[in-house]
Symmetry: C2
């Protein structure tokens, strides 16, 4: 059963580390998976982490480092020299992980680490990978893979695989290439294992496979692997030559990160923060939206102050300000969230923008009519003035219509200009909807109070 980290476990471990009790500590962590040890590292001070690190063997060290959270890793790498990072950690890693870790270092330290990698081939591969944008397939891929030539027979294939397999942790497929390294297809290990010894690769492999170019965006990569239920995805260059492969575990991280980003945008958090981050980081991540909210509130105050006389005569107009403002914001967030989610999961279908807006309009009319009727009846029962009753209901309907149009249109517009549509769920649009909603309310109020 999986390991569960508890506060008791950590305090016990910290005590043992304080006593330099290497033997007991080593026993305690010997049965743990590197992902569990990484969780423990997140809770330790730099000195404690260093002590624990010295007790691990080379491969575990590298695995633990990869599994650590980015800020814990950054903190921890500071206590190591460039030479230690290169020789104790990087040499034990797959190329994609090595490139990720080195990519996080300062440029100066990057160079120092690269110089200390003895294997020139490995250093070359890492430098190659560092050139790819980290948001693309090239930035996600590893160079380690097993490939066989279409012209080989099974024994040659297995002999060659033995050579190549040393570098590769888990093998699910073997890639089949031609003499120019152009990707032709894949061969599952199952097929290879169950094939007759005299069969030729040419007649065994599956040619109709999905691959991506190195410059494919990582969100697109995630969508493709998810849609086609792939465990590994080969990456090719512009003329189809096999240059790497992406595994599903990296893509799961991409999916999580994208989902977390969208979630943070809609909740008004501007940076990637976790509850364990320090107070200043947490504050800085939240202040921007709140500042925009404050600005919006001040603008709303300015709008309202120009209606000071009306508010003095008809103070009941003020009673419904929170209702109107909240509804504008709520409806806008709902509309934009549905569009943003549809764009992210590619479930928007192939309807045109015009049809989407029209549909959203119908939904808004339906919701708006129901809600403004309820508001109308409420004010009728409370025997409020007819001016107020008609103002609130008309304004409510108008605000719902406007906010849902705005909430649908803005993400689609951003998308057209290649800007992340999730930004439309954030502070700016919500605040805009609040203020414009208020404005609509006051204009309608002035109109109806003039008429009735």
């Amino acid at each position: 059963m999986p390991f569960e980290l508890t506060r008791d476990y950590i305090s016990n471990l910290k005590e043992l580390i304080d006593q330099y009790d290497s033997k007991t500590v080593r026993e305690l962590i010997s049965s743990l998976h590197s992902a569990d040890i990484a969780e423990i590292f997140n809770e330790l001070t730099s000195e404690e982490a260093r002590f624990l690190y010295m007790l691990l063997d080379g491969e575990t060290r590298a695995d633990v480092l990869i599994e650590m959270e980015e800020d814990a890793r950054e903190r921890f790498l500071k206590v190591l020299s460039g030479e230690e990072i290169a020789k104790q950690l990087i040499t034990e890693m797959d190329s994609d992980d090595a490139a990720d870790v080195i990519g996080e270092l300062s440029e100066e330290l990057q160079e120092e680490v690269l110089q200390h990698i003895k294997d020139v081939d490995q250093a070359g591969v890492i430098v190659d990978l560092l050139n790819y944008d980290e948001d693309t397939a090239g930035g996600l891929m590893a160079k380690e893979l097993i490939k066989v030539n279409e012209n080989w027979d099974i024994p040659t294939c297995i002999r060659e695989m033995r050579k190549q397999a040393e570098d590769v942790d888990e093998v699910y497929f073997v890639y089949v290439v031609d003499n120019n390294n152009v990707l032709l297809g894949i061969l599952s290990l199952k097929k290879l294992l169950l094939a007759r010894r005299d069969a030729r690769i040419k007649n065994l492999y599956k040619s109709d496979i999905i691959s991506v170019r190195a410059d494919t965006h990582r969100e697109e990569v995630a969508n493709i692997m998810n849609k086609y239920d792939l465990v590994v995805l080969p990456v090719v260059d512009s003329i189809g030559r096999l240059i790497g492969r992406i595994t599903i575990d990296d893509v799961v991280d991409v999916i999580r990160e994208e989902a977390e980003r969208d979630y943070q945008l809609i909740s008004g958090i501007s940076e990637d923060v976790e509850p364990t981050d320090n107070i200043f980081m947490l504050t800085r991540a939240r202040l921007p939206w709140l500042a925009i909210g404050l600005l919006g509130g001040i603008l709303a105050a300015l709008v309202l102050s120009s209606y000071e006389d009306e508010l003095r005569i008809y103070p009941e107009m003020a009673f419904f300000i929170p209702l109107i403002a909240a509804m504008g914001g709520n409806v806008g967030v709902q509309s934009s969230a549905i569009i943003v989610q549809g764009l992210a999961s590619k479930t928007l279908g192939i309807e045109s923008t015009g049809r989407k807006l029209l549909k959203e309009l119908y939904v808004a009319i339906l919701n708006g009519l129901i809600l403004s009727t309820i508001a109308f009846l409420y004010n009728l029962v409370r025997q409020e003035s007819f001016s107020l009753t008609i103002t609130v209901s008309t304004a409510l309907l108008s605000v719902i219509l406007f906010a849902s149009f705005f909430g649908t249109f803005i993400p689609l517009l951003l998308r057209r200009f290649n800007i992340d549509p999730a930004l439309a769920t954030g502070p700016f649009i919500t605040t805009m909807n609040d203020i414009i909603g208020l404005f609509i309310y006051l204009i309608i109020g002035r109109l109806f109070y003039g008429i009735f």
Copy 2:
């Protein structure tokens, strides 16, 4: 390169289907992956879908059905009889997919379909799987897997695998069990392929592996597979016997669904909807939050009406109502979103609840002081009355403190009672924060206007 569905493609295909041009249609879709054909199905009417379905071979039919969106599948299965579903579709599926599809049918149709499955073993397996809660490991797992006995040698192993492999699409690992079917470990195909022929399974397999019990919650399953970077996860019963396996593609769907659910909760959408759903479904999904928002707005109106006299004398108090209400809502959402996300991704660390609340309090004080100072300076510059200036700033600070406490505390409280903490990001709490914020503002106003 992956296929991209366009409006032109669909209208062209629809035209061909209208002309009953089987030959061209078959050519058009012959090179497509079942996931692409499923996308096409989402865009067709039932009659068009039926025509296209008749052109597919048995295995593709089953694959396409699994890849379809749930509502498209439901629509489509209505045009088939129980016998057709059983014989043409279910028999071609893996047990987990078969159980999922049958689980979506009406009870009546379920029985009809099960009766028409000729293979009694397969029917039995499906009935077994239907008994598991769909939110657990049992509900996610498939029964098809390859297992070998620890006492076998390689040739026996490969012979037995040949027999078992028929049922299994992709094989990444072979499970090793003892004579009682108790899971002992896994053997990678790579190891098997590269091992000497006279080796024994006993000496090759990896024993230190992670498995889950059938009643493990699917979110926990997703966290485990993500944390340990697993591609397949074996499922065992209460005495450790191997009963199934979960593959990463199903877990990717779980991760997406959970993220979408949290996203919908925070954006105030109460049902799982997609932009392609019809207008009534879209309306129904949004009305609940808007209704709560309306109720909140009416409550706010009631609160404000009890301050009618003050508002008539000091109409400037009304100017800052939107600011105070919006800030309460915003801060509350931020605080609860961070906690909810931390709970979902298990990155909350092992800090105690008390420390978390304290930390949140510090963040709130910092943000609150900055924002209320800005508001103070603004009112000072605008030469507003001192009573108003001090009321707005004090209320702003208090509302920020209260909302962030409330936003942190409620999800943690819900968690303690095993209620989904994501509910705390939804309408109820936001509206509560709005109203309580307003209340705080009015009380402080009455206090300061009395004093100054």
